[in-house]
């Protein structure tokens, strides 16, 4: 029911009786201070009520009108709300057309970033309509990808890939071939699975020597060709020799120096070369300010000359041994098990020789090429 709330300024009883007399139904009449009455009537009876009150010289005012029609009209006039709803809907529509994420499924050996880069999409994309077939082709073209399927799920592009099988090594167990040493070494232990052992523990072998022969002896003493198989672990010795001359040429400062100060501006640097033939350089950078984009560079050139100096090996021995041990260690095979290391120092007439030795235990049996 459409309702109208009215305030009448007249004795309440008079207003109620007057309206009742003309068949106007009054709801929830409330007497206010100062002889005023607030009441509700059916909107359809509004005209009769107004006429009656006008006739009786009753002042009145409409406080509110309620009902689904009135409320609907009022709602239609709320432009701010409609603008908000329209903007909200527009944002939802725009968001639904966006691509905000690319998800890669099934990539274990192939880098996900490579697959994402292959799509050629830089996120986020508004009004995105990616060419799924082109992305599929670009993905399959990558190394290590056997198949791909691209599906768009909301704002996410889901790329499912099937990777190629990893390359497997096919082990030939039939063709007769021996196992040989890949390093000069001393045999530590060996396990022969197939073939005949050609060496024993403690033997010294050179690189390329046969470790396991490619035959077996049958019951009648005949050699039956087989493919040699087994493991041979040996001690391999790595060494490094360095010569340090007793007299070394070094540069010493003569005492003469010259200074040059320049202001370095972005993309512009003027630098004057030193007039000395041989010199040391010392550079000091002075920042003028964190805000200003230039700095002052003060360069000092010290004249130098070559001079023979005596190199005291013993003073630097510990440091040189450690440095050269690090260099030797970095060249060793990773699968080797370190056994021990040592060094020898030999003082000769003009040089001192530093020899560093490193013993590791490693697998040495390989198939000859």
């Amino acid at each position: 029911m459409e309702k109208t709330r009215i305030r009448a300024e007249a004795p309440p009883v008079f207003v109620i009786n007057a309206l009742n007399a003309v068949d106007v139904r009054i709801l929830k009449p409330v007497q206010e201070k100062g002889n005023r009455l607030v009441f509700t009537i059916d909107k359809r009876e509004k005209e009769i009520a107004f006429k009656t009150m006008d006739k009786k010289n009753v002042k009145y005012s409409v406080l509110s009108e309620r009902g689904w029609k009135t409320d609907g009209k009022r709602l239609l006039m709320r432009f701010g709300m409609w603008a908000g709803i329209i903007v909200g809907l527009a944002l939802i529509v725009i968001y639904s057309t966006m691509l905000t994420r690319i998800r890669v499924l099934g990539a274990e050996r192939v880098n996900e970033n490579d697959i994402i880069a292959a799509t050629g999409i830089s996120l986020p994309v508004v009004f995105a309509s990616p060419d799924m077939e082109a992305i599929e082709k670009a993905t399959v073209a990558l190394d290590g990808i056997a198949g791909a399927s691209v599906v768009r799920k909301g704002t996410t592009l889901e790329i499912s890939v099937i990777e190629e099988l990893p390359h497997t090594e096919i082990i030939d167990t039939d063709t007769p071939a021996p196992l040989v040493a890949n390093e000069d070494c001393v045999i530590e232990r060996m396990v022969v699975v197939q073939g005949t052992a050609a060496v024993k523990k403690g033997d010294t072998v050179r690189k390329g020597d046969i470790l396991i022969d490619a035959f077996m002896i049958d019951a009648e003493g005949n050699q039956v060709p087989v493919r040699a198989m087994g493991e041979v672990v040996a001690n391999v010795f790595y060494q490094r020799h360095i010569f340090y001359p007793h007299i070394m040429m070094s540069k010493v400062r003569t005492g003469a120096k010259e200074t040059q100060t320049v202001i370095e501006l972005p993309s512009l640097l003027y630098k004057k070369q030193s007039s000395f033939v041989s010199y040391d350089t010392e550079i000091r950078v002075i920042l003028c300010s964190n805000i200003l984009p230039f700095k002052i560079i003060k360069t000092t050139y010290y004249e130098t000359r070559e001079q023979e100096t005596y190199f005291d090996f013993k003073t630097h021995q510990e440091q040189l041994v450690l440095e050269n041990f690090e260099v030797l260690s970095s060249t060793l095979p990773e699968d080797g098990k370190p056994v021990k290391w040592w060094y020898l120092v030999k003082r000769l007439d003009k040089n001192t020789v530093l020899s560093i030795y490193y013993q590791i235990e490693t697998q040495v049996a390989v198939r000859p090429r």
Partner: protein
């Protein structure tokens, strides 16, 4: 009581057959429905006066208010204490 109303009473006919007058229905703890009124004399939360055909009906109570009223009936809600009829 008129002649016709005496017949209705003596023969125990349904109440709807009474001619003229008013009907006052009390709904316990809810309110009072007064049918056949002749107008409101005064209304206040503690006391309400309703004009009937020949008399006046006075209601005493607390928080009384008119829920709805039209030419024929008034429905008063609130705590009704007592109802009196005045000449």
């Amino acid at each position: 009581m008129g002649y016709w109303n005496e017949i209705v009473a003596n023969f125990c006919l349904p109440h709807e057959n009474f001619a003229g007058g008013s009907r006052i229905s009390i709904f316990d703890d809810v309110g009072v429905l007064i049918e056949g009124h002749r107008g409101i004399v005064s209304f206040a939360p503690e006391r309400m006066e309703i004009r009937l055909n020949k008399r006046k009906l006075v209601l005493f109570g607390k928080d009384m208010r008119i829920a709805r009223c039209n030419r024929y009936e008034i429905y008063i809600v609130g705590k009704i204490g007592s109802i009196e009829r005045e000449e």
